[in-house]
């Protein structure tokens, strides 16, 4: 299949490169961006063509950097967009939607980017899939590599949640725990890429293609809203890549005629206080992002030196969005709030998003008259440790198996007549 990619281009100095396994400009080290022929895409794509496609990210193949008759695919994408009226009422908002990416095959949005990255990597001839990960990416790379019959080597910080380690190791690849933070792991992988040029590090040498997978979040949101853009989207920030690609996705829908014009979508960012280099720069009104040493329960966002931080700042400012950083206590509270009101169990990153949404709603930065979408990007089963010992995280009561014990423990004031003991 023919794709619509014209090549790669440096975001900083605009030098052009061929569509190979390159991720940074070899002149200025700026990130490379996939360049498309939007006129040709506009001629090929249509809402009907997309709606007739698979119920996965691959329905948007015309807008992705790789085409393949049989992509490396576990069914990523086309996750539910859920109207969240009960949560909206709690937060004083009007039309609120949750993009529920917990429903992806390995439980996070990373399946979107990995499916794209490994499809491209396989076409480029790579036999080994690798990555630096805070956990979700590790799960997804190991699973997709298994699916594609590729070897996998994933590198993670040594202190990840148990579930994320098990959910990676089970697929049979190599899992290397590194004594250090994610930023140490990332630096090691960036160096390994030079020494292992035959390995596809999805978020290093294949990152240019990988990152494009996040655009599908914007495509799906618009399609699921009936081909309308939202007014405001709240996105968690780790590296900042997802946020910038969501913005790119909405813009492309206008460029290729799937929306009547490029929509004005405000994009706001969410970080945890214990790792908030982007939120800090946003609130200080500076472009200088100072790296930090992360300390937060939101480990999937614990990137102290965010590669796309500048671009995330630029998108938030240009779009009229906002940014906030929330405490770990607020994260735990928000996980519970989302679960109680909407029946969605988010990992800590989702708690960061919902807690930030609550902050921005309270400050008026997210308005009641806006159509708002919050991205919940990973499943709560991955980070149950974060809730252990907090109120509401265990049994309501532990009782002997008798009716008397049950009645003593459970007092439903609205429901006392259903069970009545017969007279003896």
């Amino acid at each position: 299949m023919v794709d619509f990619v014209t090549g790669l281009r440096c975001r900083e100095c605009q030098r052009a490169f061929p569509a190979e396994a390159l991720h940074v400009c070899d002149y200025c080290f700026g990130p490379l961006e996939v360049a498309y022929d939007y006129e040709r895409i506009a001629g090929a794509v249509s809402r009907q063509r997309i709606e007739a496609g698979p119920r996965s990210i691959w329905r948007y193949a015309d807008l992705l950097p790789v085409h393949d008759e049989a992509p490396v695919d576990l069914g990523a994408g086309f996750t539910p967009l859920v109207r969240a009226d009960r949560l909206a009422a709690e937060l004083g908002l009007g039309e609120l939607w949750i993009k529920d990416d917990t429903a992806n095959p390995t439980g996070s949005f990373k399946d979107r980017v990995v499916s794209v990255a490994l499809t491209k990597a396989r076409q480029l001839g790579f036999k080994v899939a690798a990555c630096a990960s805070t956990g979700n990416l590790a799960n997804s790379v190991a699973a997709h590599a298994a699916r594609a019959g590729l070897e996998s080597v994933v590198l993670i910080p040594h202190d990840l949640e148990d579930a994320k380690v098990t959910m990676t190791a089970v697929y049979g690849g190599k899992v290397i725990a590194v004594e250090g933070t994610y930023d140490d792991v990332n630096r090691l992988c960036a160096e390994l890429t030079s020494e292992r040029p035959t390995w596809a590090f999805v978020n290093v040498n294949v990152r240019t293609y990988y990152a494009e997978g996040s655009k599908t979040l914007a495509f799906e949101i618009a399609e699921q809203l009936g081909w309308r853009a939202p007014d405001h989207v709240v996105v968690p920030i780790g590296s900042g890549s997802q946020l910038t690609k969501v913005a790119k996705g909405f813009s492309e829908l206008g460029k290729v005629g799937l929306l009547p014009e490029e929509p004005a979508v405000r994009i706001s960012g969410a970080q945890a206080e214990g790792c908030s280099p982007v939120a800090t720069a946003f609130l200080e009104g500076t472009d200088a992002i100072r790296p930090v040493k992360p300390r937060t329960i939101a480990k999937s966002l614990a990137i102290g030196n965010p590669a796309d931080g500048w671009y995330a700042l630029e998108v938030m400012r240009r779009s009229g969005g906002s940014c906030a950083a929330v405490t770990d206590d607020e994260v735990v509270e928000a996980i519970g709030l989302l679960a109680r009101t909407e029946g969605i169990f988010a990992e800590t990153a989702g708690g960061v998003t919902i807690a930030t949404l609550a902050r921005l709603a309270a400050s008026g930065a997210v308005r009641r008259d806006e159509r708002v979408v919050a991205l919940v990007t990973g499943h709560g089963l991955k980070t149950v440790e974060a809730l252990r010992g907090t109120p509401g995280s265990g049994p309501t009561a532990t009782i002997a198996p008798t009716l008397a014990a049950f009645d003593a423990a459970v007092d439903f004031d609205h429901d006392t007549t259903i069970h009545e003991e017969p007279a003896r």
Binding site: E12, H23, V24, C25, D26, Y27, C28, F29, G30, P31, A132, Y182, D183, D184, N186, R187, C189, A190, E191, T193, S194, E195, P197, F201, N203, V204, R207, G238, S239, G240, S241, Q242, R290, P291, K293, I303, N305, P306, A307, D308, W310
Partner: protein
């Protein structure tokens, strides 16, 4: 001080393909300038107009980001390794 500088793939055209170069210098900045004097072209790639590290260039001394240390003024010890690494990775 004698130290080893690790060169990423993207800059190995300047070193004839070598992944490591030995240089002398008392600080991180000195060492990188020494690298440029033996392998012309590095300064242009690593530094912006005001002489600071370009924003997409990370430099690690003994595996620590020099921005957590004293940047280009960070003193180096004999035998240490300095790594030049593209910043755009991960996430």
């Amino acid at each position: 001080m004698s130290l080893t500088i690790r060169i990423p793939t993207q800059l190995r055209t300047l070193t004839g393909g070598a992944g490591e170069v030995q240089v002398e210098g008392a600080t991180v900045g000195d060492a990188l300038k020494a690298l440029d004097s033996t392998h012309a072209g590095f300064a242009d790639r690593l530094f912006d107009e005001s002489g600071n590290l370009r924003r997409f260039v990370n430099v690690f001394l003994a595996d620590e980001d020099v921005r957590f240390l004293d940047g280009l003024s960070t003193p180096v010890e004999d035998g240490q390794t300095l790594s030049i690494v593209p910043a755009v990775a991960g996430g």
